[in-house]
Symmetry: C2
């Protein structure tokens, strides 16, 4: 209860933010807000960790050590090995964790979990380097996405969970008057946890995409097994290490939260997911596996692939708009689920404050804006980061052979710090609206399609059909016309896609802010869950009421 | 908005009740609280309706008339025919309804729907007679369950919907400070309805089990198609008639809510449920069809079969307890999803305030209590009602051949008002604990199994295994021992089954009160939904947010 009291104010603020949806974070996103020597210490830490066994986890009965992560910046294996276990051992331990964790009170869990975020905060710089050398994210994104922004989403899940778990009283005397007498019952309610939760991570955002489901399952009383992508284990291993330590300090078994690792060659995910003791699965990754997860006869939360569109109709300042789009498409080399892929532009061009700019000039402007960004040595490397996997790298090279017109070739640029980094700037390809076979697929990575349409209505219809069929996490729209704006909002929203209008400057369609923006809507094929609406926590426990006379 | 203002106080009270879980209803359950001539008028009404076409619905493009309802009290067809439609027509009309209804505001919907409940209230007596002559419920249950209690559950769904739909602000200015400048966005959120909703009714509670899903879908902006059981259409047809009239009066198309009827021989349910335009399905009925519904790739809400247990350990007043159990098992001839089927009793007997009563004496006491109730001409007919379907009637006759020891034979009794009623009193059969093959199946109707166990721990283990495997809606437990009580609560709650302890007098495990008791937990095989938790409404719409700079 001490931890609950310590963090009660934060919890209340977070719950308040969930209602007001205004800006809120207790975890500064600027590295300079943290200890001056933290970065240097983390550099030493990552050097020491590489090529060693990761022995900091409290998990027994290992059957060996494995690890095959490769740094996209160094293009060599980082050599970290993690303890591995049979699935039987993992489930056996999870059952122990479940029994202990289900018996904690909601306040106890809230206190422990917010304390965990404070412990994780002390490791933000370690997590940043671990993220860089597994995902290929540049330093700043690694720090922010896996550190403060991930903590924000975790706290959001805790707050949403606490709010829902507190929505029904624990006890009440119920009285019904029958005229001659009162019927009285003593009623009690409990939110009973569903049971063991499996959280499956992805290779590009191993912390940010894992912690919402993880903390949502934990606050609702469920022990968790985290199964990260075999190529991005280290960042979330740090999180799990800190949380296991905290659980043990507080008299709980470390088995409340386990790391389960595997390799690409010998995956364990399906067997774990299908185990009848596993009651819930959170998944981030490709659509094919996500669809498999969704059809399991259990509670599932998925974020799969979507194809995000930009609709370019009319603008005030075209240069500002193109600069914004160029950044959105280049950030982490387009390896974000929220990166734009398809830019729909009318063949009649784009209306600006200075008059119509022709279609060809807009297309050339997009290419120029991207070149201007990536060729700038002060901006390019830090924006692009590196390409996480060889598969994506190959896809970028292949893209020009898919039948479109090559507008801007992908190339490498120099990263002074990491000469061997796997880098690829965005490739820009022009397609006809009839080439839906190409642009209606998610082509993960820095691949930008410009689709020439008959006008904004045509653009919107194409984006809508795509969203209904393949899903989307976001949509960028540029229009100065109120009724067009209304039409876009209504059409895309009815396909359950959120729209960001007229973003320039420091606002990017890629960024969803915790406590305010829902990440995914859960309503289109891009995924069935939403960080963090009420359903994201309510589906993890069951209200059960007893009555007594 | 006038209707919203008219009903705002009721809405606020209902939302308040959902939070406090204390007793609440705006619809008195006592028929005497209504107009003196209402009952007589309803009697005339039902006479006029029988053997006629039901022409009061506002549904066009019919392809014929059909109806095959049979009164369990008269054992003759009631001769009411309803307009029938091709599924194409129903879907076409639902799309029209969906467009109109999705564009109403939340307040508009809340006002209209609570007004609808007031209109339905004027038809409570008509609905009561319609319920009697389709389900076989006795008069008082027909009035209460299909009238005020159904309205309670509908209002509960409206209130829960309104609460959740109001949980996110419509608009906010979001400001993030970057030190040198503020990033500002105008953010808006909309709860976007998922789309057309199909509500599939059952033959025993055609109104009570239909309106929760119906009103939950409507308050969240979804047009509805109600597909009642072919043998229990009339009660819900009245509800739909009143609501269609109200929609039209308020400038909305009647297609917001349609009645879709079929026959046992030519069912239309699967084709409707599988139509891609149907986004949600609510279902009450058998487990086999319910399991089919649950695996459809859409949002589903099911109440299927469960097997409810009573655990008899120790009591103060055995006579009061046995009387209570006898009533629970006899009410509406056990044709309630919340009726007890299995009574687990230790072979060592039951501890009472006057000492141990032997197992055999307790068994004899149960039989005597049931006989005392059903043989009492003032209580029997009104408690039992009639058997809804010949299938159930046959099952009761068969039960004594299932390998158990017959303790009390089922028989008919005289109902002075309805001499031809299909009546069967409860059959009581004793089984060994090894005869799970018999007692682990739902045997719908007035069939009571008494299972002789080795003690309360054994009884509890049997009830738990059954609940985990087959599901249960309720569990009755009698114990005067605090630690046994704790053990029962914890074990059954972890199987997601609510427990009613030591019910005597006017409290019955069959009754779940709206605004307080959840009907189903949604956590065990008896069904995946709960009337009405937050999930019951949240799954019917999607939060979508737009941002603008």
């Amino acid at each position: 209860m001490k931890l609950y009291q310590k963090h009660e104010a934060t919890l209340q603020e977070a719950m308040q933010a969930l209602s007001t949806r205004t800006y809120y974070t207790p975890y500064p996103e600027n590295p300079k807000a943290y200890a001056e020597d933290a970065d240097a210490a983390a550099k030493s830490w990552i050097s020491a960790v590489m090529n060693n066994n990761y022995g900091a986890l409290d998990q027994t009965e290992t059957n060996g050590w494995l690890g095959e992560e490769v740094s996209p910046f160094l293009q060599v294996g980082i050599g970290v090995k993690y303890p591995s276990f049979s699935n039987e051992t993992i489930i056996k331990h999870a059952i122990i964790g479940q029994h202990a964790w289900a018996n904690t009170s909601i306040q106890q869990r809230a206190g422990l979990l917010i304390e965990a975020l404070d412990r994780i905060k002390t490791r933000f710089f370690d997590i940043a380097y671990a993220t860089m050398h597994t995902t290929g994210q540049a330093y700043m994104m690694s720090f922010q996405a896996s550190g403060p922004h991930a903590n924000d989403r975790a706290l959001e899940a805790i707050a949403m969970g606490y709010k829902e778990l507190s929505s029904i009283p624990e006890q009440v005397e119920w009285v019904k008057n029958f005229g001659k007498f009162d019927l009285k019952m003593n009623k009690t309610w409990k939110p009973v946890p569903k049971g063991i939760s499996l959280v499956i991570g992805c290779s590009t955002f191993p912390v940010w995409n894992t912690v919402p489901g993880l903390f949502a399952s934990l606050i609702t009383g469920n022990a968790c097994i985290v199964k990260p992508h075999p190529k991005a284990i280290l960042p979330i291993a740090i999180v799990i290490e800190e949380m296991q330590k905290l659980f043990i300090e507080n008299g709980l078994p470390a088995q409340v939260l386990q790391l389960a690792v595997d390799t690409l060659e010998k995956p364990i995910t399906k067997e774990l997911a299908e185990n009848p003791m596993v009651k819930m699965v959170d998944f981030t990754g490709g659509s094919q596996f996500g669809n498999y997860i969704e059809q399991l006869p259990k509670t599932t939360f998925t974020e799969k692939a979507g194809v995000n569109s930009i609709l370019l109709d009319s603008v005030n300042d075209l240069k500002a708009v193109l600069g914004n789009i160029a950044f959105s498409a280049s950030l982490y080399s387009g390896q974000m689920c929220t990166a734009p892929q398809n830019i729909f532009i009318s063949k009649h061009g784009v209306q600006t404050a200075e008059g119509i700019v022709t279609y060809d000039d807009v297309v050339a402007g997009i290419a120029a804006a991207i070149s201007g960004l990536v060729d700038n040595p002060k901006a390019g490397p830090g924006t692009l980061g590196a390409i996480q996997t060889e598969l994506t790298y190959q896809r970028i090279a292949d893209a020009k052979n898919w039948g479109g017109k090559l507008i801007l070739e992908s190339k490498s640029i120099v990263n002074e710090e990491f000469k061997d980094a796997r880098i690829a700037t965005p490739v820009v390809i022009e397609l006809e609206k009839t080439q839906g076979k190409v642009f209606n697929e998610e082509c993960f990575g820095p691949i930008v399609f410009i689709i020439k349409t008959d006008g904004i209505a045509d653009s919107l219809a194409l984006a809508e059909a795509l969203a209904l069929q393949k899903g989307a996490l976001t949509c960028g729209a540029y229009t100065t016309d109120a009724s067009t704006k209304q039409q876009i909002a209504s059409t895309m929203n009815n396909a359950f896609v959120p729209v960001s209008f007229n973003f320039t400057g420091a606002g990017f369609i890629n960024s969803h802010a915790a406590f305010s923006d829902f990440h995914l809507t859960g309503g289109n094929p891009a995924g069935n869950a939403s960080f963090a609406n009420a359903e994201f926590v309510n589906k993890r426990f069951v209200w059960v009421g007893n009555r007594e006379m």
